[in-house]
């Protein structure tokens, strides 16, 4: 199963929470704190980018000719 954007987003958010925690804890040395800050800033950027570029993926399940269930794209036009 390919990794969804949502999974990347969640992983980034989890990592960001860790980073903020470490930074606010103040227990990491300054040099490492700067590395964490850079990593965090990059993650904030990529999270924003994920949101900017995302488009809801919609598929519909249908039974194929042989009875097996398939994913087919769900056109918004079908809604109207």
């Amino acid at each position: 199963m390919p990794k969804t954007k949502s999974q990347s987003f969640e992983a980034n958010m989890t990592r960001l929470e860790e980073i903020v925690h470490s930074l606010e804890d103040g227990s990491v040395p300054l040099e490492e704190a700067m590395k964490l800050f850079q990593e965090g800033t990059a993650l904030v950027g990529s999270c924003g980018k994920l949101l900017d570029e995302a488009e809801l993926q919609i598929v519909k399940l249908t039974a194929g000719p042989d009875g097996s269930i398939q994913e087919v794209p769900f056109e918004n036009a079908e809604l109207n």
């Binding site: 969804t4 954007k5 949502s6 999974q7 987003f9 969640e10 958010m13 960001l16 980073i19 903020v20 930074l23 606010e24 103040g26 300054l30 704190a33 700067m34 964490l36 800050f37 965090g40 800033t41 904030v44 999270c47 924003g48 994920l50 949101l51 995302a54 488009e55 809801l56 993926q57 919609i58 598929v59 519909k60 399940l61 249908t62 269930i69 994913e71 769900f74 918004n76 079908e78 809604l79 109207n80």
Partner: protein, 408 residues
């Protein structure tokens, strides 16, 4: 004979006149179950009465509704009193209801109550069984009709709030005989295939009958058995179904389900901005901390005035030197004293002093010291040394008499 051609209004009025001429329709009592009930802001109540086979449109105007002692609800069995007439605008006949009398709960309501009680006792509604919803759903399975406003609203809201997710639509019929089976099978399929990490099961608004599939036991059991968390999203806010009780979360409407299912990207962007701010503040705080430590180090004398260290050591050295010199001086002094004392002692024992007291030494011509009269008698001349000089004397005999020489 030419066929008369009516306008629609003329015909509707003709039909209305026909209805109004039937005395039996002017004051009727009819028993049925309320459905499609709607109270308009105008204060008029619109609903249908139905039994197993038929349906009768009803209206109760505001003036008559004042006499109502209960709140009409869908599924409620009532006896309605009024007259039947035609509403020409719609070309439809309806019961103009003047009184409404409740008559115990309707069949559907009874079935609902019974199933609800049974499943409650079985523990299907237990809070402990409710599963938490994922914070960031990756794949959202939507079990609903692929046609209609409900799915459209859900997709629109999901896309607007959290476009990172993937929606998998499991199209089912949501009303009719087969609906409950299709809905429960779709839920089971999603679980068997691990299709998604969140399920929304529901449909848009409708009559109690329209929503009935969500009051059926197979659907309730499929939701209960689902390992994937389920949001129940049936009808409008006031509609409550068995599915709502069993589901992990009850949404008031399908749109509300979409809102509850995913985080809002506006809020997420706000959180990201807050994270950035918090990180910046934390780093700044840490940098300030480091700076103040650095300042404290800078302020310490070793770094502020490195020469002071040398000066201090030089001073120490000077002091040591001083002590050393002092020590040496003292030592020399002490030795000198000792020397003086020794010299004094020595001086006291000096032969010169003895000579000055009247003694003299005697030596032969070769300078050999003569210490006895015998040795002196044997020599021809002797040198007699006084304290201030020496004289040569000639020996003229002598005796061996031993004179006691007094001790010094």
């Amino acid at each position: 004979m030419e066929q008369q051609i009516f306008t629609v209004t003329q015909l509707n009025n003709l039909i209305k006149a026909a209805f109004d001429n039937v005395p039996a329709l002017q004051n009727v009592c009819v028993r049925g179950e309320i459905s499609n009930y709607k109270l308009y802001p105008s204060g008029h109540h619109y609903f249908s009465l139905k039994d197993g086979e038929g349906l009768l449109r009803c209206v109760m105007f505001k003036g008559n509704a004042f006499s109502l002692r209960f709140k009409p609800q869908n599924g409620m069995s009532v006896i309605a009193v009024g007259k039947v007439s035609v509403f020409p605008r719609d070309g439809a006949y309806q019961l103009y209801c003047s009184r409404l009398i409740p008559e115990g709960a309707g069949d559907l309501q009874a079935a609902f109550d019974q199933l609800k009680q049974r499943l409650f006792e079985e523990g299907l509604f237990d809070r402990a069984h409710k599963k938490p919803l994922p914070d960031y759903p990756h794949r959202i399975g939507v079990v609903t009709s692929p046609a209609g406003a409900a799915v459209h609203d859900m997709l629109r809201i999901l896309g607007k709030r959290y476009p990172l997710a993937k929606v998998i639509l499991l199209p089912v019929r949501v009303q009719g005989e087969t609906a409950a089976g299709e809905i429960s099978r779709a839920i089971q399929y999603a679980n068997r295939e691990a299709l998604c990490d969140l399920l929304i099961v529901g449909r848009g608004g409708g009559s109690v009958e329209d929503l009935w599939a969500f009051n059926e036991e197979p659907v309730a059991r499929a939701i209960y058995a689902s390992r994937i968390p389920v949001i129940s999203a049936v009808g409008h806010e006031p509609d409550v179904t068995i599915s709502d009780f069993v589901a992990d979360l009850r949404a008031a409407t399908p749109s509300n389900a979409a809102e509850l299912a995913v985080p809002d990207q506006t809020e997420l962007r706000g959180r990201l901005a807050a994270v950035q701010k918090a990180m910046t503040a934390a780093l700044r705080r840490q940098a300030q901390l480091a700076r103040s430590r650095l300042d404290a180090l800078r302020a310490c004398p070793a770094l502020r005035d490195p020469h002071s260290l040398i000066r201090e050591r030089r001073q120490t050295l000077d002091l040591s030197m001083n002590s050393l010199v002092n020590a040496e001086t003292n030592l020399v002094h002490a030795q000198r004293n000792r020397l003086t004392r020794l010299a004094a002692s020595l001086d006291a024992m000096s032969p010169l002093k003895v000579l000055m007291r009247g003694y003299a030494t005697v030596s032969d011509e070769s300078g050999q010291l003569i210490t006895s009269a015998g040795a002196a008698a044997a020599a021809e001349s002797l040198d007699v040394s006084f304290y201030d000089g020496t004289v040569r004397v000639t020996v003229q005999g002598g005796s061996h008499a031993k004179n006691k020489i007094p001790k010094l």
